[in-house]
Structure formats: C-alpha cells, structure tokens
C-alpha cells in the first residue's frame, strides 16, 4: 500500500509540474502584457524598459525558472486591480467556493448512491424508470439555466429562498442544489449499473449459496463492489464541481473563487487568473491523489501490480 501511495504521489508531482508549464505558457500566449499595462502613447524605449523591469526580455527558460521560484514562495505577483498579492485574494475567496463544491459533492454522492441502489434493487419498477428519466433530464439541462429556473420558482414566485448572496445556510440551498443535480444523476446511473452487474456476478450467486441474506449481500458485498466505479467517478465529479462553481457563483452572486476569476478575466487581471488556476489545479491534483488512495483502500487489486 505504501509503495502504491508513493507511485501515486510521484504522478501527482509530475502533474503539478505540467500544470505550472501550462499556466506559464498560457499566460504568455494571451499577448504582450506590457502593451496592456503601459499607456497607449508609451514610446518603444519606455516599453523596452518596462519589459526589462518585469523580466520579460529574458530567455523563456530563465523566465520559467523565476516563475517557478516565485510560485514556490507563494508569489504570483500583485493583482492589477486590487493592488494586493494575487494569492491572498485567491485564498480569501477559496473557502466560499469549497463550501459550495464540497456540500454539493457530499449531497450528490449520498443521494446518488442511495437512489442508484434502490433503482437497481427495484429494476423495472416505476421508481426505476422515473429515476432514470429524471437523471437523463438532469444531465442534459445546462446548470446556469437550471439555476435561473430555480431562482424564478423558489425565490421570485414562492419567496421560500433568497435569490442570491451568501449570508447563511439558507443561501446555500439553491446553488448547492443546482450544482449537485448533474453529479447526482451521474452517480445514480453508475451506481445502478454497477449494482446490477455485481448482483449478477457469480460470486454473488456463491454468497447466496452460503445462505447469506439478500440485505447482507447488497450492503456488504454489492455496495463495496459498486463503490469502485463510483470512486473513479468522484475524482471527475470533484473537478466538475470546482470548475462548475465558476458559472453557478455568477448566477447566484456567490462571493467565491469562480466569481473572482470571471471578474479578473474581464479586467485582464492576469496575476489573479494565474494564481486562481494554479491553486485550483493543485487542489484538484491533491483531491485526485486522495481518490486514488481511497481506490487502493476499497479495491485490493489496485494496490498490487
């Protein structure tokens, strides 16, 4: 298990290096920053001097080296708009985003698993059909539209819930629901099919031969086997959720990282964008490392070569 962990960790480190290269290259692909920052009537000399000041006239490998060293010190430069370290801005907004993403993740995993199991156990029933039709519907509706519709219904028409903002738990209901719909549907469908496949397997037949009760077979053996693909899915789900908050946060005016990123893109506040991309990437890589380890815990075959 420890060797498995080290292998996964090595992969994670390689991925982080890859991400740093992508962030570095992407930020330089978006055009000459000096033109954006300097007044329009700046002379060639002034521009060159400014480039030198920012270190942009150095060879790319030197620039990358400096970039990495700075990142390692947590220095992504200052926000062009707020005049404070970009990383501080990003980190101050991160908790609000994680609050949304993790709530949606826990909700979708629990509900998706439960509905998936019930759906599989009641295969062919009205519940099973309803669950499948609704999950296809949930997966095909764009989340910004779902968010707006939910606001219309529950906030504007029924006045049950606030339209937007973040002043307590009640404010989380609509954004978390919107965010969780797609992963609930995905988890439901994958749990259902994994459950059906497992319950059809020979080893389940042998469990029945042993005289074990159906409930025991479902909750001990079939569930753990079904958790293997669900765990694999959860890595993707987390990525989807953290990326998905960008849109949901602007629909619900949620003061998280997603909203900050959209503002920064509109104002070309590229140090903040870089810091935001880097932080979410590293965060996702760590989460996936966690998922990989969980994989090894659930499925012993993964631990060995």
């Amino acid at each position: 298990m420890f060797r498995y962990f080290l292998r996964r960790l090595r992969l994670a480190v390689i991925t982080v290096i890859g991400v740093s290269i992508i962030v570095f290259v992407a930020s330089r692909l978006s055009g000459d920053v000096t033109l954006l920052l300097m007044p329009q009537d700046a002379s060639q000399e002034e521009l060159a001097a400014f480039r030198h000041q920012l270190g942009l006239d150095a060879p790319y490998y030197v620039q990358y080296y400096k970039f990495v060293v700075n990142i390692a010190h947590g220095d992504f430069g200052d926000s062009l708009r707020y005049r404070q370290p970009a990383i501080d801005l990003v980190l101050s907004r991160l908790p609000a985003t994680l609050e949304l993403a993790f709530s949606a993740f826990i909700l979708s995993t629990l509900i998706g698993l439960l509905l998936g199991i019930v759906s599989a156990r009641m295969r062919g029933s009205w519940f099973d059909y309803a669950a499948r039709i609704l999950s296809i519907a949930a997966q095909s509706m764009p989340s910004f539209w779902v968010g707006i519709m939910l606001i219309l219904l529950f906030a504007v028409q029924l006045h049950w819930l606030p339209t937007s903002g973040a002043q307590g738990l009640i404010y989380m209901v609509l954004p978390v629901t919107t965010l969780a719909l797609v992963p609930i549907a995905a988890t439901l469908r994958i749990t259902r099919s994994a459950m059906l496949e497992t319950l059809d397997a020979d080893y389940v037949k042998f469990l029945r031969v042993k005289g074990l009760s159906e409930r025991f077979i479902v909750w001990k053996h079939a569930l753990r086997n079904a958790l293997v693909p669900v765990t694999a899915l959860s890595g993707l789900t987390l990525g989807f959720l953290i990326g998905g908050t960008v849109i949901i946060e602007s629909v619900f005016a949620w003061p998280g990282l997603g909203n900050l990123m959209i503002e920064s893109i509109f104002t070309r506040d590229y140090p903040v964008i870089q810091a935001g991309v880097a932080v979410t990437s590293v965060f996702l890589i760590l989460l996936n490392l966690g998922v990989d380890i969980l994989f090894g815990v659930i499925d012993p075959r993964v631990r060995f070569d």
Partner: protein, 328 residues
C-alpha cells in the same frame, strides 16, 4: 426419519425461464425425477443448455430472476423444499445444502479476503467467532490441502491460482458440513493437471464427511471417476439414467451412445476425426412434438416425431426414454 429413505427425491420437476418480453417460455427443466441416497454420488451429464445447472439451482432455490419452478416436488430429508419460504431455504443453504460453482476465479468476491469469505457461513450457521472461528478456518483450509492456511486467510482471491481458489471454494462450500453438495462443472475451468487433484479432493471429502454429491458435468471421465449413478439430460429431460457401469457398458439411448462415441480415445491410432453429434441442440422455447432428440437421432422412427417415449426399464435401476428401446 426412516432408514433407507433417500436424502433427496426430485419428482417431476419443471422449471421455466420467461424471456424478457414475457412472450417466450423456455422449458429449461421439463419433468425431471430422480433420487439420491445418502453417501451416494449422482452425475448429471449433458451438453450446455440441457438443463443440468437449472436442475441444480432449482434444488438450492437460487434460480435467476426470470426463472420459475412451475411444477413438481423436491423432497430433502423428507421435507418438500418447494413448500418452504425463502427465509427457510436461506437457512438451509450453506448449512445442509451447498454448491460449488463452475469458475473458481469468479466465485469469490475480489474485494474481500479469503478469511472474511470463509468466516461468513461459519458465523451465520455455526455462530463461531474469535479463536474458535480462526481454528475452524485453518482446519478447513488444511483439509483442502492449502499450504500455510494462516497466511492465506489474509490474502485476496487475485493472489491465488485457479486450482487453489477452487479448493478454497470447496472449503467454504463444506464449511458447515452440509448433507448435500452439488458440484456444477467443478473442473471445467481448471487446468488438466489441477483437475485430477480437485477430483481426488472431492472424493476424499465425500468419503470423510459422508457427503451426498451431485456432480453436474459434460465430461464422462469426471462422471466415471466419482459417480455411482448417472443421468443423461437432453433438452430439459432425462433420457437415460442408471448405474455408471451400466451406462458405460450398455447404453441404450441413442443420445447416450452418441455422447460416449464422441469421447476421444487415446489408445486409438491413426488420424480419425473426432466424432460429433450431427445437428444443433434444440431451441427450448420451440420444442418439436415428440422426442426433442429426434431431428438429430440416427435411429429415429416415425413415432419419435409425434409422441414422447415413456421410461423403459432396462435393468435394475437402469431406464431409458426411447421408442427404439421399446421396439427391442
């Protein structure tokens, strides 16, 4: 219980499988009757789809969802299994009735250790725990010749070979000393060298535990090794049954004869092609009237296509269902 009463008595068992749209009915087991005495070994022989496994699963009450027992009776220790509730059947399974499945590589849950899977029936039926449970588990693994059983208990199925897994499956199946063990093609998935070892083990377990054994197989060699009696099934029906020597030396049903003739003979020289049975096994949802083997039978007569032949007694315990036997 009376002495001499058979352990298992199956009478006119009929099991059908409903196709998913509900339109077609497959008569997987079609009026099967037989008896099994205590300590006796019965072989059920036939090709794939002949109803051998369905017969076995009907006895244990572990039929797939689409299958139903639509007629007959199964007496085990004098009680009718078909009259028992699902819960009563569950308590019998693993305790008095047990089974070994065809493929050991997929018979165990890949995510749980050997120990936890061996412990399940012992906890459930024998309420063992702690040191008593561990002791019983190592004894069982030793009984099926698994080296260093203590270590094996902590391993997972993927860390073991097929032959070893089949012995572990065997150990789980007999863990609560069942009275009846059904082995469904127990050696088909094993390498030939391991097959012989496993047959030895089955033989040894049967003799030491006084098990009654039903061996489902398509292999006359396996049947000859283990069985006292065999019954030959075709299209859900028993076409011939009798003591193993009788069936080998004096087969009466053309299907039995054809099966025996298709066994490759190692002593034969020359490049004779393997003998096969012409034609295909019938579609069990569209059986022809009369004998289902008639379209493939070399000695078919007109009556075969119209009317199914009754059982004819050929010798002591030896019966066959064929109009040809009647003519003779």
């Amino acid at each position: 219980m009376k002495q001499g009463e058979p352990l298992l008595q199956v009478m006119d068992l009929k099991t059908q499988i409903l196709s998913r749209d509900g339109g077609r009915v497959v008569r997987a087991v079609d009026g099967v009757s037989f008896e099994l005495q205590r300590g006796e070994t019965l072989g059920i022989i036939g090709e794939s789809g002949s109803g051998k496994s369905m017969t076995a699963m009907s006895i244990l009450g572990i039929l797939p969802e689409a299958a139903r027992i639509v007629g007959g009776q199964i007496f085990f220790n004098g009680g009718n299994l078909l009259a028992k509730s699902a819960e009563e059947m569950r308590r019998l399974r693993g305790e008095q009735l047990s089974m070994i499945l065809q493929d050991p590589m997929v018979s165990l849950d890949p995510l749980f250790t050997i120990g936890s899977q061996l412990a399940e029936p012992l906890r459930l039926h024998r309420s063992l725990s702690g040191a008593a449970l561990r002791g019983r588990m190592t004894d069982l693994l030793s009984a099926v010749s698994i080296p260093s059983p203590e270590m094996r208990l902590h391993q997972h199925p993927h860390q073991m070979s097929g032959g070893m897994l089949q012995r572990i499956v065997g150990a789980i199946a007999i863990s609560c000393d069942p009275q009846l063990l059904i082995a469904d093609e127990p050696t088909t998935a094993l390498d030939p060298t391991v097959q012989a070892q496993f047959l030895d083990l089955l033989e040894q377990l049967r003799d030491s535990k006084n098990l009654s054994l039903i061996v489902v197989t398509h292999d006359f060699g396996v049947a000859a090794r283990l069985c006292d009696h065999v019954m030959v099934m075709y299209a859900g029906k028993i076409v011939e049954k009798g003591p193993i020597r009788e069936i080998f030396d004096n087969p009466k049903h053309p299907y039995t004869k054809a099966l025996l003739a298709s066994i490759p003979d190692a002593t034969e020289t020359g490049n004779r092609r393997l003998r096969t049975i012409e034609g295909q096994p019938p579609d069990l949802s569209q059986l022809p009237p009369g004998c289902p083997f008639a379209p493939r039978c070399p000695s078919v007569v007109a009556r075969c296509r119209v009317e199914y032949p009754p059982e004819y007694e050929i010798g002591p315990d030896h019966v066959a269902s064929c109009w040809q036997v009647y003519v003779q």
